[in-house]
Symmetry: C2
Subunit: 351 residues, 2 copies
């Protein structure tokens, strides 16, 4: 069993973190202990060990406190839910069970004022988050978050169905599925809530901003695959991740699959920076959108800054990897054209 | 085997239909024959027999032609998809298969400019609809439709999971699931596209308008259950519909379950009319929202006007039921308070 080395990431964006991260974390831990969506001390340690306050404080370094606090609660909740009900556990390969649980859960979020039957602590905690958003966010932001939440659960259901069928998705399907299944939509929908600025609908739903949002989700999701992969053996072909997709469907040996994964990721990163500059250069771009686009960049950078320290990826007990070695000076594949993946090729269209 | 009688519906809304329905239908048939998402002459007759042009011409009697045409294409497509891949057929009790098909399908709609691998005629037709909406609707309207489309597929996946497990949902879960699974979200998201007027985001996402949209979906979905039920025998407890939910979980005999279904439906109808009047009386309500709210009413009324004539419900070969007998003068349950169903009780809150 050998492990593949993590390489430097191309991400020419400065690191940043919200100054009140420690206080936000302290209050989040109180909140977690109120809803107790964990099992025993081990479960609690695992939830706290996700460093979710740090995670989102890096995503939204200029957030207002109330929105950031609620967003951080969801991140802790989301990692716990992911660990126990998506990636492993009784639901993780059983779409019949997962859908019967996730359907009512989503409904409970959309209407957080009336408790549904049952006593699922995940539902109670999620309704509390829904009420917090209703108090600090606009109705448009709340609706964006709930739609994004459903997109996540739909992506997870698809991933679980693949798992149940023992099916490794193709690169085309995996690229369409993974950003949603990895929680990208709700995580990024909370940015404008944390910032306390609503992005106007005509801007948020424009093709360019949709593409930028999706690109940030995909780079972060692929980066998570690269971080996770460090822990995995080269013999394990069953986990749905970018490296295994490239091995199984493109027939690449492990080292080549890893290099190809970095190339794909760097080409999306390059397009993200280019298109973001283009939108920022437009004098009609609102200040709310400018703030949102800055946070998309913080999200990509912060996701890896967080991953390099968090036990979830670095391994429990290992010392954190020095951050300085993690960053590349340029893309591993400098070609500017579109990737030949139908779901995302449009990102290189004239937008 | 006895069948339960269809009773008059309480719906004090005048019937209406778009004057160009015949020309829209003619062009839609040409479109259907171009994409051929049917099997043989029987399949084609079944698609055309949904009378989808009439259906949506009743929903949006004041539509602009281009938007109505694209919407009607989706309705034909949606009924065909529902019949062959949701309610019956190889996917209808297999969430693993359904999700592997519906995930890429949804992605193909969100990015209709690049064809995914494969040659599924449903995918090709849906991408054509996506491109038509991109040409005639605003980016906000397009995004609303694609989000609504995902909500539908998520609801269908939940329904299919219930089917796979042989599980009759509770009234709480069924009420949360059915409006989405019945296609309510995409059907109503097309109203403003057909009308050619974008409802401002702050209005569309306001609690009152969200509630009105959801109420229209629920009444129409429950009405479809009542229409479908005419064809079913009283011995069949397995189909997921409101009457069977009330039989199985509330222990009601068939006739009582039917009466209770009408009572539930009439109480939502009453609240819809009351809240719609309240929003319409607000002088700040935009003309686009007013037009949209009128169409929500046309949707409830038109859904039953259509159902009373269409072979899908009235039975192939049967003569249409006279429309005059179908309408009640008042609600079968005049109580104004909230229904004791967690997912919808908030509709009676102060909105």
């Amino acid at each position: 069993m050998t492990t593949l080395e993590l390489r430097p990431f191309y991400c020419p964006i400065e690191p940043a973190i919200h100054p009140e991260v420690d206080e936000v974390e302290r209050r989040a831990i109180e909140w977690i202990d109120r809803f107790r969506f964990y099992s025993g001390e081990t479960g609690r340690a695992r939830v706290l060990g996700t460093n979710s306050a740090e995670f989102y404080a890096r995503f939204a370094p200029a957030a207002c406190r109330e929105g950031l606090q609620a967003a951080v609660h969801w991140v802790y909740w989301g990692f716990a839910f992911d660990d126990t009900r998506c990636d492993s556990g009784e639901f993780s390969a059983d779409p019949v069970k997962f859908l019967a649980m996730a359907g009512p859960l989503q409904q409970a979020l959309e209407n957080p004022w009336h408790a549904p039957p049952g006593d699922d602590p995940y539902v109670a905690a999620l309704q509390d988050i829904g009420r917090a958003f209703a108090a600090c966010a606009t109705p448009v932001q709340v609706r964006r978050f709930t739609d994004a939440h459903r997109a996540w659960l739909f992506g997870v259901a698809w991933q679980i169905a693949n798992c149940a069928a023992g099916r490794m998705p193709t690169l085309a399907d995996y690229t369409a599925m993974r950003p949603n299944a990895a929680g990208g939509p709700p995580t990024l929908a909370m940015l404008e809530i944390a910032l306390g600025q609503e992005v106007p609908a005509a801007e948020m739903d424009s093709p360019a901003v949709r593409a930028l949002t999706e690109m940030a989700m995909l780079v972060a999701a692929w980066d998570n695959d690269l971080h996770s992969h460090r822990k995995e053996t080269t013999e394990d072909h069953t986990d749905q991740n970018l490296i295994n997709v490239l091995r199984v469907h493109e027939g690449l040996p492990p080292a080549d699959a890893l290099a190809e994964a970095y190339r794909l990721r760097d080409r999306v990163m390059t397009r993200f920076l280019e298109l973001r500059d283009q939108v920022a250069a437009d004098p009609r771009t609102s200040s709310a959108l400018r703030a949102y686009l800055r946070c998309l960049g913080h999200a990509i950078r912060g996701n890896t800054d967080w991953a390099l320290r968090v036990p979830r990826y670095s391994g429990y007990g290992e010392s954190p990897r020095p951050g300085g070695a993690a960053w590349a000076d340029g893309p591993s594949d400098p070609r500017p054209g579109p990737l030949p993946i139908p779901a995302i090729a449009w990102w290189w269209d004239s937008l």
